[in-house]
């Protein structure tokens, strides 16, 4: 009897075996291709994802560290700061303080996914499902990425930038280039167009434009800074009265690139390169939670489907769940490991909850999400991935169940009090407030100080005035603000002031005491000899 039972079991196993994509923990290219096909089948036919073609690249630990250090891009212009982060990452990794990400994915067309050779086959499978389909779909469909990035051109543009920086180093010396890039990096996060959409142009056009632009730019600047009396006196008078620029400029590097009186044409191009790269990453830090959440949701769904179809075995699923739960681990606030919300966990929890609301809503859900209950979860989830960023997605879709599950509470920090006050917890009274405040913490202004150029005194002292619009009474860190300001001064060449305003109250004034002698450029007004070559 026992014998027969065993045999029966064995034969069942046989049947199942034939369906498996792989067994064992080591990977090979054959397994990877089969895995990719199986994932694609589910991603496209079941979930209806819309992805760029994928390019998986097998890399070593060293190469992963490398990719980390150049902000995750496949290539990047050279700068010491990338060397610094490489050294730091390598140090942290080698003493075991930091684990490496399993994957790194680049928003390009084709979508480049890095797989580390150390990964087990299941990890590779997870990465494929997570990055090659989850992130990939998000990149291609999310409105921010669609508007702000050009995945077709980014690799080519970076190639152009790398070459350009290298040529400048050869021509003008590494020190001069480094100094300019240092200054540009200091204000890169204030050099993003938040509302105006950039033109999409290809790298080849970019290179062609670069040549004509440098000449054109320089001529424009010279015109603005004309010292001889101009025939258009009326306009001059207008400028004097109204102040210039007429509208505040949120993109500092753009302004400096176009109007700085002292930069030479190659330095203006550096400003442009740095701000274009910064702009490229703008959608990424606005969609961290939703991007990771969607990718995690995708890998979770794909692996469960693979298991249901008998394509992966129990051992694989156990390993998968171990990986999944360690990536999505959310330490609580009092844990020494707590470092804010884990974007993977938060995003996944929200989307999983929405899926539940769509398929099996209870009374509470019908009250909270009347328009979602009993809809097709595939369409709803994809809609969230396409049309929201973190702030708006949390504000719309963070449901009471997630708040309860995670035990979220609101701590109010009034600056003059000695104690924090717990103002809301996970109950009827608290849900909405927690949702609102959590969403607010993902606003760009909460993370990155909002600083704009309000005035440039082009007729007299050439002073430049920056305005920091305070977010909820927050002020700047004085030490770094002074340092950054001196960098701005290097790019502008004349005195730079920064005001912090909070609802029309002046909080702080920053001003660089001395004008450093080492301007990064020579004034085109003083010296016309050098920059036309």
């Amino acid at each position: 009897m026992i014998y027969i039972l065993c045999l029966e079991k064995y034969s069942k196993l046989e049947v199942k075996m034939s369906n498996l994509i792989y067994t064992g923990s080591s990977w090979n290219f054959d397994k990877l291709y089969r895995m990719m096909d199986a994932c694609e089948e589910i991603a496209i036919n079941d979930m209806g994802l819309d992805c760029f073609p994928n390019q998986l690249e097998i890399i070593t630990v060293e190469q992963m560290l490398d990719a980390y250090s150049s902000v995750g891009m496949p290539l990047m212009y050279n700068h010491w700061s990338f060397g610094k982060s490489f050294i730091q990452n390598k140090q942290n990794y080698s003493v075991g303080r930091m684990g490496l990400a399993y994957e790194l994915v680049i928003n390009s067309n084709p979508c480049i996914n890095y797989l580390m050779e150390e990964n087990s086959m299941t990890t590779q499978g997870l990465v494929i499902a997570h990055a090659a389909f989850g992130h990939n779909h998000f990149f291609k469909n999310n409105y921010l990425f669609q508007q702000w990035t050009s995945p077709d051109a980014i690799v080519d543009y970076l190639l152009f930038a790398k070459k350009y920086v290298r040529e400048c180093e050869e021509r003008y010396g590494t020190d001069a280039v480094e100094e300019t890039l240092d200054a540009c990096h200091a204000i890169q996060y204030q050099s993003i167009n938040k509302y105006k959409r950039p033109n999409k142009i290809s790298a080849r056009e970019e290179i062609e434009q670069q040549r004509t632009r440098s000449e054109y730019l320089q001529s424009q600047v010279n015109d603005l800074w004309r010292t001889l009396p101009n025939s258009k006196k009326k306009e001059d008078k207008n400028l004097l009265e109204k102040g210039w620029p007429a509208e505040p400029e949120e993109n500092l590097l753009y302004f400096l690139e176009k109007h700085s009186p002292i930069l030479t044409s190659w330095q203006r191009e550096m400003c442009r390169i740095v701000r274009r790269v910064a702009q490229y990453f703008y959608p990424q830090y606005q969609t961290k939670v939703m991007n990771e959440g969607f990718a995690s949701f995708t890998h979770h769904h794909i692996f469960n489907e693979l298991y249901n179809q008998g394509k992966v075995d129990d051992g694989t699923m156990l390993e998968f769940f171990k990986l999944h739960s360690s990536v999505l681990y959310q330490p609580s606030f009092d844990s020494p490991n707590y470092n804010g919300f884990n974007p993977y966990a938060l995003g996944f929890a929200i989307l999983k909850d929405i899926q539940r609301v769509c398929t099996e809503p209870d009374e509470e859900d019908k009250q909270w999400f009347p328009h979602l209950a009993d809809t097709d979860w595939r369409i709803t989830i994809k809609d969230i991935a396409a049309n929201y960023r973190d702030e708006s997605a949390i504000l719309q879709f963070l449901g009471p169940k997630v708040i309860r599950d995670q035990g979220m509470f609101n701590l109010h920090d009034e600056i003059h009090y000695d104690n924090y006050l717990v103002t809301s917890i996970h109950n009827e009274r608290g849900y909405k407030k927690i949702r609102k405040n959590l969403a607010a913490s993902y606003e760009t202004a909460a993370m990155i100080p909002d600083i704009q150029i309000t005035n440039a005194d082009i007729t007299n002292t050439r002073d430049l005035t920056l305005l920091h619009e305070s977010y909820k009474g927050k002020r700047l860190d004085k030490k770094t603000a002074d340092q950054v300001l001196s960098h701005v001064q290097k790019l502008w060449g004349y005195k730079v002031k920064l005001y912090t305003m909070n609802d029309n109250t002046l909080l702080d004034v920053y001003e660089c005491k001395q004008l450093s002698n080492s301007k990064v450029g020579t004034s085109p007004l003083d010296d016309h000899g050098d920059q036309w070559n």
Partner: protein, 446 residues
């Protein structure tokens, strides 16, 4: 959808990130070189420096490598924080703010677990990088190139290619390039001609289309037809006769002997190992010599070292023995220089060699020997020496040396001999500064 898997692990193309960061790393090291040098300098007393092997950890100040950004001061502005993991709080509960600011958890104090403070940045240099920075601006002073007319020395070096040589010296690449060129040059005109003729032949074939042999015979075209066929046959033979490799193709690596200017040097390491040298003294002396040995072997290709230990007797020893063996006994310093003198006469003619001495001792000498020592130094050693450095190890007390008075004796020599330098090392922290001072790069007139 076109999916693709690429193995990026091996190839070294531009997209390969594996080769990417080394440039950035070098930039970083260049930028922080001053700081690194200072850090190495400060910590040298605690390090063990080896010629190879482990990387060296350095800690530098963050000052020059800050990347400032506008950031919010966390101590300003009221805020609402959402946190996960509520266990038993209800609305209205109050929590005490952690001291040192409103930062959560670990608080504001960032004395991190890296073993470095907030203002410091620690990382590892490879041993090569470390040693290069260590010896960057040091040299063996007064090195000159000495040429001895009597003893001609030759260096064999590569100098281009020749048409004659032994098969072992044949340069295959060059030879095959020549062969290829010759084949192209000789074959192409013939093949071109064949092609032309074949075209003409085709035209004639068309001309003769459906004509009988009788009609062809005797015509001018038919004669031409046969002539062309014959010519093509001959050209084919000649084209095929172009040989694959011809003796004229062959090139050989050429080596020439050149009279070599001799700027070779020998460094004498002389260490006192007598009983008066305490463990600490020996440690200091050995550390100094290890540094010197590393320096010489890293920076100079053609420098030989002679290791001499002495108590009442001097022994020439191998490098290994010099650093590792233990001896005891009284002290007669002159014995070491008498031995050196013999070695010089025997192996290192001053005409051919730059001669350097480095001596370390606690300063103790048998009193009766001092005169003889000064004699042998000023008569036989110093006149032929480029540079003589004397290190006295041991603590100084009340301005006097705890140990012997050799230093005072040597100072007398300094008056008449410009090429002697004397230094004192009290503990391990002195070694590197003293070493730098002895071997720093000088101006020409010094």
């Amino acid at each position: 959808m076109a999916n693709n898997i690429i193995d990026r692990r091996k190839n070294g193309d531009m997209r390969n990130p594996g080769t990417k960061s080394s440039g950035n790393r070098q930039k970083f090291i260049k930028r922080t070189k001053k700081e690194i040098r200072k850090s190495i300098h400060d910590s040298l007393g605690d390090r063990s420096i080896k010629g190879s092997g482990d990387s060296q950890d350095v800690v530098i100040n963050r000052k020059g490598i800050d990347e400032p950004q506008f950031t919010h001061n966390p101590k300003t502005g009221s805020r609402d924080i959402i946190l996960p993991g509520n266990k038993d709080f209800v609305e209205g509960d109050q929590l005490e703010k952690p001291k040192g600011g409103p930062g959560q958890g670990s608080g504001g104090d960032k004395a991190s677990n890296e073993g470095t403070g907030e203002d410091e940045f620690g990382f590892a240099l490879s041993n090569d990088e470390f040693v290069n920075i260590l010896f960057e601006d040091l040299e063996l002073p007064h090195m000159i190139s000495k040429e001895n007319k009597a003893v001609q020395r030759y260096e064999i070096s590569r100098s281009g290619y020749t048409t004659v040589g032994t098969p072992a010296q044949m340069n295959l690449e060059k030879s095959m390039v020549n062969s290829l060129g010759r084949k192209i040059a000789l074959k192409t005109p013939k093949l071109k001609k064949i092609k032309e003729l074949e075209e003409e032949l085709d035209n004639l074939k068309k001309f003769f289309y459906k004509t009988t042999q009788e009609q062809k015979d005797g015509t001018e075209e038919w004669a031409r037809y046969q002539e062309i066929e014959e010519e093509i046959r001959k050209l084919r033979i000649r084209a095929n006769a172009v040989s694959f490799v011809d003796p004229v193709d062959l090139r050989y690596n050429n080596f020439t002997k050149k009279p070599a200017p001799i700027s070779q040097a020998v460094v004498f390491f002389i260490m006192d190992v007598s009983a008066s040298m305490t463990e600490q003294h020996k440690d200091l002396a050995k550390r100094f010599f290890m540094l010197l040995n590393l320096f010489v072997s890293r920076k100079y290709k053609k420098v030989e070292c002679v290791f001499i230990r002495h108590h009442i007797q001097a022994i020439e020893s191998s490098e290994d023995e010099f650093f590792n063996s233990r001896d005891n006994g009284g002290t007669i310093v002159s014995s070491a220089f008498k031995l050196s003198k013999e070695i010089l006469a025997d192996r290192y003619s001053p005409n051919e060699w730059n001669i350097y001495f480095a001596q370390a001792s606690d300063g103790d000498n048998w009193d009766q020997d001092n005169e003889e020592l000064l004699n042998v130094l000023s008569e036989d050693i110093l006149p032929v020496t480029q540079y003589f450095s004397y290190i006295q190890v041991g603590t100084k007390r009340h301005g006097y040396y705890n140990s012997g008075n050799l230093l005072q004796e040597y100072v007398k020599l300094e008056a008449n001999h410009k090429n002697i330098i004397t230094k004192h090392i009290e503990d391990t922290y002195d070694i590197y500064p003293v070493f730098r001072e002895i071997f720093k790069i000088r101006g020409k007139n010094e």
